[in-house]
């Protein structure tokens, strides 16, 4: 028997859907069809015992130590800004419904009726229906900006970000005795490293810490891990591998270094979903970069480790001050994403993602309004704008 015939022979015999389950799904569907929020099925006393056991097991598996999780979705009909009953899923058994029974997104194959998230036609994931959001924004890409994410031999990740523009402003001089804001970043003097000049920007704010490389006609920033020592060997090796010729930032990566991601992006779409976890609100920020790689979403001082997320390769980082602050960077189709949450486990984060549906840029505009306009005239009057080039 050839393998195709073996597959055919292995066709499982599946009977009709069990009557109880069929009825229960039917009840939920009619709630959905009439616009009312879905009832948590665990409240239905006719729920099959085995299903209950599975849900409890899932609850233990996915919610242990994290408390309850819920997505507050307030859905209304057309013309209503935000109306309807707020569904706050506070009981642990209900949480499993968020994880186990999400409205299906469409991350991979498509039909003409079902757009695939990350495709050219439907690059975004959005909440289903009208949902109250904690944050919402679209940012156009700054002209001529691109990012690079590399991994050092010690497995630490380092981000680089170049932005076209005018030549950097001349260095400022500090007047002795002048009042200094203790929170303001401190810019250390330029140092020569190999063939380039670089300097360190020190700040209490991790987001403001960086190295700056002296490039004509723009900026080049390097973000190392928040916890790493100033000018550690890996940073010095990376900076020493850079040469700049006519704006081209050539990085001759030493042996043992890898490029994880590089590229540019067209726009940044951000939604903040209202999630309830641990008895309180928990921010869930989803940032999407259509037509981009993960380098932009990963840029910053958070150290990333590979994980499997929704069945695909992704990267996870935890906050230095608070390890419950989680960043997940990955991609679906041609869209890269960054998720920032606090106090949620990876299965819980996956569960929230599974409640989203694919949509087009037009869908976004229809729901949330016009996009940010990059605006203004092209300011790149300087000839040698920076761009990355990797060599070995």
């Amino acid at each position: 028997m050839n393998p195709s015939s073996s597959v055919e022979a292995a066709r499982p015999n599946v009977g009709p859907m069990p009557v109880d389950a069929r009825r229960q799904v039917r009840e939920r569907l009619f709630d959905v069809a009439t616009g009312a929020p879905p009832l948590p099925p665990t409240t239905n006393p006719t729920r099959n015992q085995s299903v209950k056991r599975r849900l409890v097991a899932l609850a233990l598996l996915t919610v242990a130590g994290a408390g309850a999780l819920g997505l507050n979705a307030t859905r209304g009909s057309d013309g209503d800004a935000v109306i309807g009953t707020e569904t706050s899923l506070a009981e642990p058994t209900v949480v499993t419904e968020v994880i186990d029974v999400p409205p299906p997104p469409t991350l991979a194959p498509t039909t003409t009726a079902v757009p695939a998230a990350g495709s050219e036609a439907s690059p975004l994931l959005m909440p289903v229906g009208r949902v109250r959001l904690d944050a919402l924004s679209h940012t156009a890409r700054p002209r001529g900006q691109s990012a690079l994410l590399v991994r050092a031999p010690d497995q630490s990740t380092i981000g680089l970000l170049e932005t076209d523009g005018l030549a950097p402003a001349p260095p400022t001089t500090t007047i002795p005795g002048a009042e200094i804001d203790p929170e303001a970043p401190v810019i250390l003097p330029w140092e020569r490293v190999g063939e380039i000049r670089a300097r360190r920007v020190v700040s209490p704010d991790p987001a403001a810490r960086r190295y700056e490389v002296d490039v004509p006609c723009g900026t080049l920033e390097v973000a190392d891990g928040d916890s790493f020592a100033l000018n550690r060997q890996e940073i010095r090796d990376l900076l020493a591998s850079i040469t700049i010729t006519d704006g081209v930032v050539d990085i001759a990566l030493p042996p043992g270094w890898d490029v994880i991601s590089s590229g540019t992006y067209s726009g940044r779409f951000e939604v903040g979903l209202p999630i309830e976890a641990n008895g309180g609100a928990s921010p869930f920020l989803l940032v999407q970069y259509p037509g981009s790689e993960i380098a932009f979403g990963a840029y910053g001082g958070t150290q990333l480790q590979p994980i499997e997320f929704l069945g695909s390769q992704a990267w996870i980082g935890r906050g230095l001050a608070d390890p419950s602050d989680v960043t997940i960077v990955g991609s679906f189709g041609d869209t890269a994403f960054t998720i920032r949450v606090s106090g949620l486990s990876v299965p819980q984060i996956e569960a929230v993602m599974l409640t989203l549906e694919a949509g087009s840029i037009d869908d976004w505009i229809e729901r949330y309004g016009a996009l940010d306009d990059p605006g203004g005239a092209d300011y790149r009057t300087c000839l040698d704008q920076p761009e990355f080039s990797i060599s070995r």
Partner: protein, 190 residues
Amino acid sequence: MSLNGPAAARLYDDHVDMVYGYVARRLGPTSSIDVVAAVFEQALHTYDRFVESKVSQRGWLMGLATNAIRLRWPTERERLRAWQDVATPAPAGAAVDPLLSTTADNTSSPEVIGAMAALAELDPLDRDILLLVTWERCDSGTIADALDVSVNEVRAGLRRARKNLKRIAAAQQQNDAASTTAPDEASDES
């Protein structure tokens, strides 16, 4: 535009067993009920897209279900790789969850187990096409609707799936043979 009222009920009643059968065959019964619920929930929410698309209703629902299945690829992969356990009927008298009683009488021969493991290594589109043909008895037009590809692509995908399945299964067989003979060789040397 959502579908609601009697039309929604009709859509559900007419197709629920078809969708459930497809999902249960690929993911197993354990999670299939929730997946079926999710498929129909999306179907009702996006009914306008279906109307505009002019695809067949069966193809559209199979497409939604295929999407939902693909999102649960780790579950399906696990199931394909452990087909021996899936296909082995529970011992007589054992307490069996009624929802798990759907996969009893399949063959569990080494050829079938090898073929199912090879199925896990196929390209996702090819795997979908092969299973829609062999398990769901879908014609190429329905599959084209479901997967948003042309009929020619369905045919090419099916040819490719069969060819690659054969190649992967043969390679796995060779590996298995090598691993079983290795200890004998080691003992000969000693």
